[in-house]
Amino acid sequence: MTDTVLSSLNSALHQALSANDKVYLLGEDILDPYGGAFKVTRGCSTAFPNRVIASPISEAGMVGIATGMALRGLRPVVEIMFGDFVTLAADQIINHLSKFRWMYNDQVCVPVIIRTPMGGRRGYGPTHSQTLEKFFLGTPGLRIMAPTSFGDPGGLIFDAIINTEDPVLFIENKLLYPLPLKNMLGDPDFDIISTMDEAPSYYVSIHGAPSASITLATYGYMAELAQKAMYRLAYEYEVFAELIVLTQLAPFNLSSVLESASHTGRLIVMEEGNLTMGWGAEVIARIAEASGSKSIQARRLAAKDYSVPASSLLETALFPGEQDIIRAGLQLTGKQKE
């Protein structure tokens, strides 16, 4: 059986529980036989009954409890059932969890992982489909990570659980769960290079293509759409793109994006959260500041500034899709009028 993002994350939780007895899982409905609303914790409570804890429906309380546990040397991993509910824990995350280390003059560390599924395109409607990490991006002391089907999503969370000294918000786009992990070495169509650091970026290019004239930057499930779009841009329009897939959103490390964009001179940033004040805006601002006298043309693609509708036609129109990426690519390269 090929590994999926889900099975990779699930094995990583098993491995983390087994690697370190300080690791605890807390969450709503995470016990077997149910194993969590998205099954990411499946099997964990059977294998480690004392360290997998079923929580009441208390997102804020759970994050607070985990924060206290971490202050006393444990390594708790909290599951928020739907990312939409992370707002309930905002005070705990912003005013407690992320603050303690710096506020107490680095005399403590608070290794809490909050993992949560985000994202739409499943018809779940306005309160179960959002992508809310932008509200937490830039919170001092908080690391925000997002796995993809590139590389090793399980390795990403395993490493965070076992090694982090700071809190991590780990955003799992729901549509990624069933996807098979990418073939990183032998893909006939794409060359994929990893930066090999603890939160790697992936450079994706079309195999055998001339040098790219446009940079696409994104994370999470949008990377899947971007990859499809870049394939079509190449084969249908002879526009060659380089795709940068990030796995760490905060603190910002945009060297991979900057490097690519300063070669191509064109940048499209893509996210599934609402456009205004989003991740992409900050990425473009930073790239603009860092690019000196060289000018880089830039575009943002994001969800329209409405709540996520349930109706599939509306929902599809709300989120940026493959076609939107192609259009933006053609416009930026002058192949299509604005």
Binding site: S58, M69, N105, V108
Partner: protein
């Protein structure tokens, strides 16, 4: 703890806080402060019987808790002045302290699940430590605390919730904010709550001692509700209560006066002079301490 040491602890808090209020106006301190004047018996009565490795999580009104825990006056003064020698090198200020197993944070309610999580961890790690956390009557309006009470009770967490009911939150009397009664809120979660209405430290001490011992041995949360009086303003110069009311509580509910009467006059004076000198020395040291360097911001 003998009577004279208890008095020393009460008196030290009083003098420390008066020094803070007196000097705030002179611009020595910056930011805000919430002094503990009038409530000293609670901190001393509850904390003087802690074990070395027990944990305290305090709130915005934390100076008294910190000093009763055994904290250093100069480091606290310095923290309030934003000095490099402060407990957190000036990063935290008055409401954000950490030293040994003492922590505080200035957001109402949010510390309660964190303290509960600490106690939960101590239990999971098979340590026999107890966590003590303090909350005010006004903070009973924050929903998060009930999530924490629920989990503490469900998971048999060794924590003592100390509610200091000074009957006022900033300017709002408790009658305007609290439906039902405080004990009932704990009882709803199966948490035993003991209530006292006293400013006598010697009434609080034995009760706190036996409750803490029970929490340690039974591994279950409990609450201690302490009805008390705040003499000082909420922060600085922001008291809306009448002069008559303040005079009345100061004459009947002063922990220093109540306990001080038990000591021989001469011994008490001698000790007061000692403490006065210590507070002054700590204050002056802190005044002369350096401010932090900007290295904190280097990447």
């Amino acid at each position: 703890m003998d009577n004279i040491s208890v008095y020393r602890s009460l008196y030290q808090i009083r003098l420390f806080e008066e020094t803070v209020l007196d000097n705030f106006a002179r611009g020595v301190f910056s930011g805000t402060t919430h002094t503990y004047i009038g409530q000293e018996a609670n901190a001393v009565g509850v904390l003087c019987q802690l074990e070395e490795s027990d944990i305290v999580f305090s709130n915005h009104r934390c100076h008294g808790h910190f000093l009763a825990y055994g904290g250093d006056m100069r480091a606290l003064f310095a923290e309030l002045m934003g000095k490099a020698t402060g407990l957190c090198a000036g990063r935290g200020g008055s409401q954000h302290l950490h030293w040994k197993n003492f922590y505080s944070n200035g957001v109402q309610g949010g510390i309660v699940p964190v303290a509960t999580g600490m106690a939960f961890a101590e239990k999971l790690l098979n340590n026999s430590n107890v966590v003590i956390t303090f909350l005010g009557d006004g903070t009973l309006g924050e929903g998060i605390i009930y999530e924490a009470f629920n989990m503490a009770s469900l998971w048999h967490v060794p924590i003592l919730y100390v509610v200091e009911n000074n009957h006022i939150a900033q300017t709002t009397p408790v009658e305007m904010t609290l439906a039902g009664n405080i004990r009932g809120r704990f009882n709803a979660f199966g948490i035993t709550a003991t209530e006292l209405d006293t400013s006598d430290v010697l009434e609080i001490m034995p009760v706190a001692k036996s409750i803490t011992a029970d929490i340690r041995s039974q591994q279950k949360p409990q609450a201690l509700i302490l009805n008390t009086c705040r003499f000082s303003p909420h922060s600085k110069g922001d008291d809306t209560r009448s002069a008559e009311f303040l005079a009345e509580i100061k004459s009947t509910r002063d922990p220093i006066m109540i306990h001080g009467k038990r000591l021989p006059e001469e011994a008490r004076h001698k000790m007061e002079q000692e403490v006065t000198q210590e507070v002054e020395a700590a204050y002056h040291k802190a005044v002369n301490d350096p401010f932090p360097s900007l290295e904190a911001f280097e990447e």
